[in-house]
Subunit: 169 residues, 2 copies
DNA sequence: TATAACCGGAAGCCGACATTCCGCTTAGGA
DNA sequence: TCCTAAGCGGAATGTCGGCTTCCGGTTATA
């Protein structure tokens, strides 16, 4: 693989990440190409179709989250703080839409590793009495998945919590 | 206006409400017509263009909210409970997307009345010490507006509250 | 310097929607 | 009951945005 080809591949992935985060999984290929400073031809040569591109994106994304989680665990004093830091980071990055794309495309093994890791933390945090016991790892993953991009399921599950959050304490 | 015409008008409005709630302000006119059990021709005869339709929808929507608010005030024991009930109702109805459409089209006078009414309640609830003082009517309106359809602004403003909600108390 | 790999973007294709138009149907008054 | 203006459906047409292909020109690298 020629050096320029590799460079372009990276740029495309980066541009795709931003584009997908902003406009959802069906962001125009042309937009992605333009942002990457590349012709559409190049984009298609590297990723024959949108699914291939999304799959690559998903894989990269899971790895980023994994790193973020490790980092949070190292930097925070306890499990619950680490979880919070991790969630805040993930949502802040505004990568919700990518998570959604990921949900479709999947990157099964990597994702599972992430879930397992997070699960340990949740158990710990709950054992510490720092985290509500009625919320699980799945909820957190769903939180990440849907927070930014599947608005219609948020209310059902999270509105009550949100309202509690609004209550004076 | 002939009886069948009026009936169709109502059906269209109803179908549009659902369609917009599900698919956003740019739900296909054809879909709306089909759901209303009506030909596109009929839809266009009644509402010359999408804006007209959305405007009608917005107006109806504000009135619904107004009613809901009145009802909540009558049924709940205090201001804060009424606000909660109102918010829950509004979001539950899944009409977030309509609110968004409304934000664009507007129905200024009706909307203002709603805001004023809600504002009284908020002051009351805060005076009671039942509601966090650092959240205002505008926040509530924004909550309604964006909760379901403008996912990218939720995190900035509401994530912290959400997390507090997750904390064991 | 030769050449195989790579690049950009114009061109063509396609599907999804908006909007129009007109021949048929029907509500409702005389 | 009959008449007719009001109303109806949905095929047809036009537009637009995005996908994908293709090829003449460019460039990395041996």
């Amino acid at each position: 693989m020629r050096a320029d080809a590799r460079r372009n591949r990276d740029r495309i992935l980066e541009a795709a990440r931003d584009a997908v985060a902003e406009r959802g999984a069906d962001a125009p290929m042309e937009l992605i190409a333009r942002r990457a400073g590349v012709g559409v031809g190049t984009l298609y040569r590297r990723f024959p179709d949108r699914d291939t591109l999304l799959a690559a994106l998903a894989e990269q994304y899971v790895h980023e989250l994994m790193d973020a989680l490790d980092h949070a665990v190292a930097a925070e004093p306890d499990a619950w703080s680490a979880i919070r830091a991790f969630v805040v980071y993930s949502v802040d990055k505004g990568r919700g839409a990518i998570a959604a794309a990921l949900a479709g495309t999947s990157a099964p093994q990597a994702r599972q590793a992430l879930v397992r890791r997070l699960d340990e933390l949740v158990r710990l945090a709950q054992a510490d009495g720092a985290m509500r016991p009625d919320v699980g790892t799945d909820d957190l993953m769903e939180l990440l998945n849907v927070f930014a991009c599947h608005p219609d399921v948020i209310p059902k599950r999270f509105l009550p919590l949100m309202l509690d959050g609004l209550d004076r304490r």
